[in-house]
Point group: C2
Chain length 361, copies 2
Amino acid sequence: MDRAWNFSAGPAALPEAVLRQAQADLLDWNGSGASVMELSHRGKRFMELAAATEERLRRLMGIPANYRVLFLQGGATQHFAQIPMNLAPRDGSADYIVTGVFSRKAVSEAAHHVNANVAATSEADDFRSLPPRDTWRLDPSASYVHYTPNETIRGLEFHDVPDVGDVPLVADMSSNILGAPLDVSRFGLIYAGAQKNIGPSGLVVMIVRDDLLERAPQPIAKILRYAEQAKNDSMLNTPNTWGWYLAGLTFEWIEGQGGLAVMGERNARKSATVYAAIDGSDGFYRNDVQRSARSRMNVSFVLHDTALDAVFLQESEAAGFIGLKGHKAIGGMRASLYNAVSEPAVDELVKFMRDFAARHG
Amino acid sequence: MDRAWNFSAGPAALPEAVLRQAQADLLDWNGSGASVMELSHRGKRFMELAAATEERLRRLMGIPANYRVLFLQGGATQHFAQIPMNLAPRDGSADYIVTGVFSRKAVSEAAHHVNANVAATSEADDFRSLPPRDTWRLDPSASYVHYTPNETIRGLEFHDVPDVGDVPLVADMSSNILGAPLDVSRFGLIYAGAQKNIGPSGLVVMIVRDDLLERAPQPIAKILRYAEQAKNDSMLNTPNTWGWYLAGLTFEWIEGQGGLAVMGERNARKSATVYAAIDGSDGFYRNDVQRSARSRMNVSFVLHDTALDAVFLQESEAAGFIGLKGHKAIGGMRASLYNAVSEPAVDELVKFMRDFAARHG
């Protein structure tokens, strides 16, 4: 079949140009006579790729010199556990802002390794809104404040970086990193599972300020310590070389498109288009998220009659769309609009939604 | 250029048929209209792939029903730390057999999480031999005995599974899994980084006996507990889907070649061919490993004159060989002969070695 209109929440659509390059390189990368997967990570070719990929990300995001960039494994979830091991003493405490399923999971995993305090939550609202900043009960002696700038499941996003004073701000940006320009200097640590805006699953990109790497970790193996990974350029052991390579191609593609400013404008237009279709459907579709916190990356919506859900999924699939089923935790539909989802794809989706509403309204 | 003769130690050669299939599937896998990297791991297509891949591995290795198969991340090194967290109490102890750089690293990582006792080592011999079984000082109350059936750097391999009584045997098989038939029932836990005989780096395959999953883990996050991964079919979070897919293609290729018996015979022939070239070189090449423990997977050799090392590497590269440089820890050369390295490739190597010796002897 042709390429589908892919609105998956993650693993998600990759830029077609990236896939075509990877396809061309698959048996002979960079004149090596081998796939990038078949070469030593310590060889000259891969070391150059690794360094160039980091450089490109630094340029794209404007990462200051006092931050290190790590290419790790384990998904964001593993780092829910590893972050407290590295940034807090075992009997210390950290503050968590809970605005959805993923930030709640961050707390429950971290709680095995630090006193994880929920300093604010919108759980009572079923995560349809953000807790107002002035209600957060932050502890100035906490080791860090953790939050999730974009919650993938409901589609709830902070559009500004919260001010948390001198306590380092730690952000799980798995689902909105590279989606718009960002002031990295506001953060102590940013981490992201790759499978949305970066590349394939199995890779985690982490951006961490030098001084946090100087904190004494809990008594854990070397392989779990971020400072050791930094000292060894993320090659304390064999990294996910394929993921690193694909991330490099994706960063190159973003740069070629005009960088994060262009991504941010496109994502704003894409999400505005889908929200407009929802809001303009006379109640056929509904999005329940607080207006000012609607996500630019994940647009969730329900149909006025849940009996139509199965029909919507079936017809949309037949029309060449994939990944529109909402997360089982909240049901309904969800359109994820990561960087690789094109404006024409979004126009097709909105057209389908309007047609569907006309036929079933 | 053409495909190189790839003797890399890992990441290493993959079967060309696997790469060609991956190339064909790259933009549209399995009629999905998307790459396997672009699809949800919880979607029907990937779930089927995951289950079929596990089934195939079970068939290939004859894995008994009371073992679980996990598809994890982090490389073997992360599991050096995670295995004690899961199989031993914090104040418990485990025995380690140290026969090379990797088993030594297993001890030093584990030591942060358990009392890791070196029950036997051949370090005094610079890891050229295996410590005789009757010299091992095993503790019958140890939580497990850990060993490394094949040491990649020196090329030192156990050709029989050691008897360690009732204490569960844990094996890091990163560099020889699938290289020959194996009696899985002799082991408590087998684990392997994928980047030699399984697939690309970034994936770890673990085979673990049910009763070990029932042991109480140390107080660690859920994501680090093997029992939780087993309960969730290795999808506690997003797995490395590309690695899992490539592993499936590799297992299929091995099955198509005739399975592990055929792999074992081929690998025996391949390594015998290279060792014969070394031993028959009148001292031009030398392999220092105890004869009975020579590896079928990694053949290390030194040249009689180290001044020729650079020439050997340069000429071999010009002749289309890659990955022949030995590990920096011991110098010299190393030819890794994993399943994907064909017999014709080995014949070419041996021919080159003879020609080189004739020209520089």
